[in-house]
Amino acid sequence: MSEQLTSQGKKEEPSKADMTTDTHVGNLITSTAQVRPDVLIKHVADGFFTNAQMEAVALVDHRQKPVGLVTRNKFLMKLFRLYGYELYGRKPVISMADTAPLLVAAEERLDIALDKAMGRPFQDIYDELVVVDSKGFYMGLLSVKDLVIRQSHALANSIVQKELAHAKASELEKISQVKSQFLANVTHELRSPVNAIISIAELMQMSCEKGYIEQLKDRLSLMLSSATSLKAIINNVLDLSKIEAGKMAAIFEEFDAIGKLDEIVETGKVLAGSKPVDVILNAGQSYLPLESDPVKFRQIVLNLVSNAVKFTEKGRITVSVEAEGGHITVSVSDTGPGIKKEDMDKLFTAFGQIEDAKTKRHEGTGLGLTVTRHLVDLLKGSIWLESEWGTGTTFFVRLPEKSNTNQRSA
């Protein structure tokens, strides 16, 4: 390559993130090849021969201002016509150059530069663009072919961005639908026991007025049962909003898991009431130390037990515990109706069925298991179930025996 001809080669490829329509062309310079206008044509021809990568070279004067452009195809074609080399070889390169190449400022946007390039006469469309800085000094060359590729990438990219934005918007809309459906369902679930309490209270008032004191006892127990179910729903809703706000924290301490499970089983028996359902604890040992949050632990297992009681008309609910490999696994097994496979995935989502409240196929709010799953997460454990339609269901909760951190937020 001639010593008068300098080229610093291509700049590094910009990353895909840069390929937006507002990319400045100054960042896209592909070559900084330049030559003085008085250099002889034969030297420039040598340059094109020796550097096959060089598509064009700018003519830059002693003040570093661009004064012309020669492109490989046009230059060589002219030169190789009959006598071309003989005629021109010894002349300065300026005599064969395009002396009015398209100059673009380094700050020019890619799409605008491309518009300008494409606005040129057909034969010049693919000529390189000359990039100058704010003072008009030569900076380098832009390959139009390269710009076209970049621009099409940028367009494709913006289409992808638009699609992503669209997908996000519809996702948000779906979430908002789920939330309002959730609200409608919660409203219904809260209203039901309140309505029952009001009706029962009215009845009790009538009993009092008539002096039927013996009726009061029955009605009081009805009212208590409605109030208890209302309390459970309210607690679940509050817990869930606490979890969603990231305000639910676990406080780890050591306690006896067997003792806790004993208490839960006793509560389960009370819940079963007069139903022909046995609630039993099946544990190999009488003491099992666990470093976890005892309040959350109780809530998790009690929730599973009360669910089992709710759905089991007769038979047995067995709470078992096993310790193995630094973990304990508590299982709650019932002889209830079982859960269909297609419904299993939805179990741990609040109102998992995401159905209209009036047409929902499942009893309850679905809040309990959602809260339970979050609590299990909080205790760094896992929850899963096995069920056979018509035979029964077993829920498993696996928790680490020891906690490594003292506190963790949901």
Partner: protein, 125 residues
């Protein structure tokens, strides 16, 4: 009063509310039967031959609106007047009434409304 001999069937899965409603209606002098599931309602209606059915909407398995459509399609039950009795908001109830072949609705939780509307629907029949 002839009204006091009228028979009402209440279909609801919430046992507490079912009992409370039964006691209230009996207190007002109606003969009351209760049914705790959507399923088996046709047989219950056929057996009881009620003058009015109070039907809950949110029931597992067979929700009230679907049940109402079913009851409307059976010869044995299609002439029985049905009224939704539900904790849903009134907009939902109004919509469900317009979509199902039922006489109307009574929102749960207001016993005077229950008393007034039951009388209204029974007299209307």
């Amino acid at each position: 009063m002839s009204e006091q001999k009228k028979t009402i069937l209440v279909i609801d899965d919430d046992e507490n509310l079912l009992m409370a409603t039964r006691d209230l209606l009996e207190h007002w002098g109606y003969k009351v039967f209760t049914h705790r599931r959507g399923f088996g309602s046709t047989a219950a209606i056929d057996l009881v031959k009620p003058d009015l059915v109070l039907l809950d909407m949110n029931m597992p398995g067979l929700p009230g609106d679907r049940l109402a459509s079913l009851l409307g399609s059976f010869a044995a039950t299609k002439s029985v007047p049905i009224v939704f009795y539900s904790s849903n908001d009134e907009d939902t109830l109004r919509k469900a009434v317009s979509e199902c072949n039922v006489r109307g609705y009574i929102p749960k939780g207001d016993i005077y409304e229950l008393q007034r509307k039951v009388r209204h629907y029974l007299n209307w029949i």
